[in-house]
Amino acid sequence: MNRLWTITRKEFIHIIRDPRTLILVIILPVMMLALLGSAFANEIEHLPMAVADQSKTDASRRFVDRFSASGFFDVTYGVQSEGEIQQLMDQGLVKSGLLIPEEFGRNLSTGNPSAAQFYVDGADPLVAQTAQLAIETISQATSQEILVQQLSSGPFPMELRLPIDSHVRFLYNPNLRRMNFLIPGLIALILQVQALLLTAFAIVREREQGTLEQLIVTPLRPWELMLGKILPFILVAMVNIAMTVAVGHLWFGVEVAGSVTLLFVLSLVFLSSALGLGVLISTISRNQMQAMYMSTFIILPAVMLSGLIFPRENMPRLVYWAGYLMPVTHFLEVIRGIILKGVGINYLWQNVWPLVIFGVVVFLASVLLFHKRL
């Protein structure tokens, strides 16, 4: 116990004596969250739209109004022809366009079907999909309304009701704010990268400096060295959590729906396993270059396969199951569960025990693979 404390204290001194690194370690994660959060902050709305209203009727103007009133589109250009719309889109000035042909108003008033041509910039599929959905929804709603109007004011007026009236109620994140989904994910990502890098050099650095040779001629036990290297960084990483969650709340308005205490306790579990993974890398690396490479190649799949960016549900089964081998996959469920859904430990337990097992396995592996020899 005495030796464990000795190692921990020494690591603390290393951290404190290097204020420049300490500041980086504390500030960078927050800056990273602010930067990445802001980059994805904009919901897809207010897409600039060019409208060529060749009909110039009351009906066509009402149709256009529906688009600007929806909030998804801003009619920024009024033009005459399809060619002009295309030109504006080529220049990147608009993302969508609407061409209303001359006969639009006439057809509507005579009860004939009328067509309207939309143009969507497909370069960004996400933007295109959102725009398409919005266009279809708005057009259909307008058509329904017109249909109901026509039928009830025709020669045989009738009381009309739509056969199916669907209501969607969003549980959790009722306003569908992307931030509420994005920020917890970014916090998990930043903590994962941070934890891995903090300890990935812990042992290999001493190996390169030659101090490891001196350490292994002492009666120090491997587990004391490993744990002594992890403990100080748990404190650092807890500061990182507190600060990123605070920035998520104060800057991006993402509130923690569930228990903040539970969030901290479970983050501690995740961090222990992530820091342990760093120590394992450090133990099996012969130099800092190897440690850096291994860390990078662990971080990449963690970002791609954990559900951080791409939904895991659509991945091939094998990849889907492989995702469960990474602690960050489970932590994502935990952090989204607590921040977004406000669920308690009862619902998170299935993601907590893999984290515990992972941490124990990684720590034991480090201890067993560390030989008190050169």
Binding site: N2, K10, I13, G210, E213, Q214, V217, R373
Partner: protein, 317 residues
Amino acid sequence: MSHENAVEVDHLTKKFGSFTAVDQVNFIIPKGEIFGLLGPNGAGKTTTIRMLCGILLPTAGEARILGFDVAHRPEEVKKRIGYMSQKFALYNDLTVFENLDFYAHLYGVSREKCRTRLEGLIEMAGLRGHEKERAANLSGAWRQRLALACAIVHEPPMLFLDEPTAGVDPVSRREFWEMIYSLAGQGVSVLATTHYMDEAEFCNVIGMMHDARLIALNDPDSLKSDLRGILLEVDCESPGQAEAIATLLPGVIDVALHGVLLHVTVENETIQQTLEDALASAGITVGQVETVLPSLEDVFVSLVAAESRSRLRQEIA
């Protein structure tokens, strides 16, 4: 096995792949003696010392430190030895006191004892007044003394020093050896490696290593008196050319350049005249020729020459 010996090394061998770093080395260090392992860089000194400290596993042979077999009970050995590695492995961002305190705790020096022990070590190493200085800011000699203090913080009965004086000025080297002497006086056994031949004079026993093998083992005086023939120190013009001529003369055992002087080992006094005549007839002006006592360097050079001659003979046969 007797427990009167601090170190007993028996056919100790270390191979790295096909390369043999240490080849069947045998020696004994009686308690309280200073043993010097002498030899050029790459001779296998560091590998030997690392095996004795339990941080490298021998490929063959065995070593007992204070009665414990180091391959099987390395942790028992580690508790009882002090080790100073080549690099003076100190933590640069820790102060003098913190470095000492760190190792004191790792070795489990008791709380009551720690304070007085550290004070004593700071005094011994001449670091009084520099306790709060960071190790990074210390000069080479001070780092060396701090590293020694760290290595003996738990009062080990056996001390291993790997090139302890590398890169340290001559005055500090002498002071350092005085510290080692005083430790040996307190009953501590010491094994030190060095490639400074003059330093080896401080040791009770010397083992000379060359090409992974121990080629000589004795006290410094015996090593010198065992040197075959008489050593002549020749002051002459163009010593390089003179060396070539001397080597070919019958009765000359060995020739080596010694700065601007030539050290020639000859079989008997009569060869001196032969040598002077040969040099004169080649047009080389010969100054003073003196019979000198061989230094350890002469011993080493002649042993290495003899060793390579015998190996060559073996290969031809």
